[in-house]
C-alpha cells in the first residue's frame, strides 16, 4: 500500500498519465449502452446480466441487460447492452 501511495504521488508530481504508470484501468461509458474498458487483467464472470472484470486495483462489476462483449483483446474490451450499474469491488489484498 505504501509503495502504491509513493508511486501515485510521484506520478502526479511528474504529471505523467496514471494509466501508464500505475496501470490504472480506463473505463469509458458512452451513454447507457456502451462501455469500453482498458487496462484490465481478465474476465471473471460473464452472463448477459452481469460482467465481472478483474483489474489491477480490484474488480469491476457491471450489471445490465442483454450485455454482450463486442470485442475482446489483450488491452481493451467493449461491452454493449443496457447498463444498470457499475461497482468497484475490493482488490486482492496480498499484504
Amino acid at each position: 500500500m505504501e509503495r502504491d501511495h509513493i508511486r501515485e504521488r510521484l506520478a502526479s508530481a511528474a504529471s505523467m498519465p496514471k494509466d501508464v504508470v500505475l496501470g490504472a484501468s480506463v473505463i469509458t461509458i458512452l451513454g447507457r449502452n456502451e462501455v469500453c474498458i482498458e487496462n484490465y487483467r481478465g474476465i471473471i464472470e460473464y452472463t448477459d446480466t452481469l460482467i465481472r472484470v478483474q483489474t489491477k486495483s480490484g474488480q469491476v462489476r457491471l450489471t445490465g441487460k442483454r450485455l454482450q462483449i463486442e470485442y475482446y483483446t489483450n488491452d481493451e474490451m467493449k461491452i454493449k447492452g443496457r447498463l444498470v450499474s457499475l461497482e468497484f469491488g475490493e482488490g486482492r489484498k496480498k499484504d
Partner: protein, 409 residues
C-alpha cells in the same frame, strides 16, 4: 467494412466453449493476442467468433482449462474454396474472367473529347480514324504525342491539345482559338476592285485599301466601280508610268430598294389521320435483321416513320447492333379554307421572318410599303423595302470582283 472483408478473406469460425472454466480460457486467448469478437453467453457456455489462425492455436488452452471448443459455424473465403473445390468450372470461370478482364484492358474502348465546340466529336473521330486511331485498338499502340502533333497540324484553330490514356479510354483535351479575328485579317494580295452589287444612293464610305471612285450622295447602278484596286504611278510630267495593285477593302453603305413578293393560296389540304397504324419492330445485328410485324399496307396515303438506335459502348464505340421500329400511319386529305385572320397572320409572320433574316445580315430596313392584298384565288403580300446596306461587300461575296493585272513597262 474493410475490416470485415479482411476477416472474411482470412476465414473465421464461430465456436462454443464449455467446460470447467471458460473465463480462464477467454483470458488465455486474450493473453496470447487471439482476437475474439461478438462474445455472448449461452447458458453455461460462451459463443464467440474467432479468426481461423487464432482457432488453430487454442487447442493447448482448451486442454489446460479443461474446456471443450466446438465449431458452430464456418465463414470466410478458405471455407468457400473448400466447399466448392470440386466445382472446377466455377474456378475455371473465375480464372477466365480475370484473364478476359486483363485482355480487354489492353485495348482502348472509348475516345473522349473535351473542350471542343467548333469541331464536333464526329469530325474529330473521323480524322483520328483516318490516322488509324479508333476504339478497339491496342493501348500500347497509342502514341499520345503523335496524336497531339497530328491534330495540331490538321486544325489551325486548335491552339492546345493534350492526349492521355485514362484506363481504357483515350482522353483528348482541346482548346480552340476563340477569337477568330486573327483568322480574318489573313492578308490576301490578289488585286481586287469593289463594285456595287445593287442600285442605290451612297450614304457612307469607309475605305481601308484602294482608291474610292464614288462620293457620298452619288447614285450608283449595279456593277458600277466603287473602289479601284489599281493605283496609278505618275512620273514628274504627270504621265502614268505604271500601276500598283492592291486588295481593295472598304465598307460602302447605300440606300437601296428591294421588291418583296409573297403569296399563298386561300385553301389547303389538311391531313386527317384515321388512326390506322402498322408497326414493324426489328433488331439488326451486323446486317442480319430480325423483325416482327410489317408496314406493308394498302392505305391510299400513309406516313412512314422510322426510329433506330445503334448500341454503343461508352461514348463512341459503336457495336454492329441496332434496334428500332417503323410505323405506317394512314391518313386522308381534306380541303380546307384559311380564314382571313389566318392569312394575315401567316403572311405577316413570313414577312417578319424575312426582315429578321435581313437584319441578321447587317442590313437596315428604313421603311417598307408592303401590303396584303386578297382576291378570289390567292392572297399576296407585296411592296417595296427601303434598305440601307453594305453594297460593296455583297458583290465581293458574289464573286463579281474584277481582277486587273497589267504589265509594268
Amino acid at each position: 467494412m474493410i475490416r470485415s472483408f479482411l476477416r472474411w478473406l482470412r476465414g473465421y469460425v464461430k465456436i462454443r466453449v464449455e467446460g470447467y472454466s471458460p473465463e480462464r480460457f477467454l483470458n488465455l486467448c486474450c493473453f496470447h493476442h487471439i482476437l475474439i469478437w461478438e462474445l455472448s453467453p449461452a447458458g453455461n457456455a460462451y459463443e464467440m467468433y474467432m479468426s481461423l489462425s487464432g482457432f488453430r492455436k487454442i487447442r493447448p488452452f482448451a486442454r489446460k482449462t479443461r474446456t471443450r471448443a466446438v465449431i458452430i459455424e464456418k465463414c470466410g473465403f478458405p471455407f468457400f474454396v473448400k466447399h466448392y473445390r470440386r466445382r472446377k468450372l466455377l474456378f475455371a470461370g473465375i480464372f477466365f474472367c480475370i484473364i478476359l478482364l486483363k485482355a480487354y484492358s489492353l485495348f482502348i474502348w472509348d475516345i473522349h473529347f473535351e473542350g471542343n465546340e467548333k469541331w464536333t466529336d464526329e469530325t474529330l473521330i473521323e480524322f483520328l480514324a483516318s490516322n488509324d486511331i479508333t476504339p478497339f485498338m491496342l493501348k500500347s499502340r497509342v502514341d499520345c504525342s503523335g496524336i497531339v502533333k497530328d491534330i495540331r497540324k490538321e486544325y489551325n484553330d486548335i491552339v492546345w491539345v493534350s492526349a492521355s490514356v485514362d484506363g481504357s479510354r483515350l482522353k483528348i483535351q482541346i482548346k480552340e482559338n476563340e477569337d477568330t479575328f486573327t483568322e480574318e485579317t489573313a492578308e490576301d494580295d490578289t488585286p481586287v476592285d469593289l463594285i456595287a452589287g445593287s442600285n442605290g444612293v451612297i450614304t457612307g464610305i469607309v475605305t481601308r485599301a484602294g482608291v474610292p471612285q464614288v462620293h457620298v450622295g452619288d447614285e450608283v447602278k449595279a456593277g458600277d466601280l466603287l473602289v479601284s484596286g489599281r493605283i496609278d504611278v505618275l512620273d514628274d510630267s504627270g504621265e502614268v508610268t505604271g500601276y500598283q495593285y492592291q486588295h481593295s477593302d472598304a465598307d460602302i453603305y447605300a440606300d437601296t430598294e428591294m421588291e418583296y413578293n409573297d403569296s399563298m393560296p386561300l385553301t389547303y389540304q389538311e391531313k386527317i389521320y384515321d388512326g390506322k397504324k402498322r408497326y414493324r419492330f426489328y433488331v439488326n445485328i451486323s446486317g442480319w435483321e430480325l423483325s416482327a410485324g410489317t408496314v406493308k399496307n394498302r392505305y391510299p396515303h400513309a406516313d412512314l416513320t422510322a426510329w433506330e438506335r445503334q448500341i454503343k459502348l461508352g461514348e463512341n464505340f459503336y457495336l454492329p447492333l441496332s434496334y428500332g421500329y417503323e410505323t405506317a400511319e394512314s391518313y386522308s386529305f381534306q380541303k380546307k379554307k384559311y380564314t382571313e385572320e389566318e392569312i394575315r397572320q401567316e403572311l405577316t409572320g413570313r414577312f417578319e421572318q424575312f426582315c429578321r433574316n435581313l437584319e441578321e445580315k447587317g442590313i437596315q430596313i428604313r421603311e417598307n410599303s408592303v401590303k396584303i392584298h386578297m382576291d378570289a384565288a390567292s392572297a399576296r403580300a407585296s411592296g417595296i423595302l427601303y434598305l440601307n446596306q453594305k453594297i460593296a461587300e455583297e458583290t465581293d461575296t458574289e464573286i463579281l470582283t474584277i481582277e486587273r493585272k497589267e504589265e509594268l513597262k
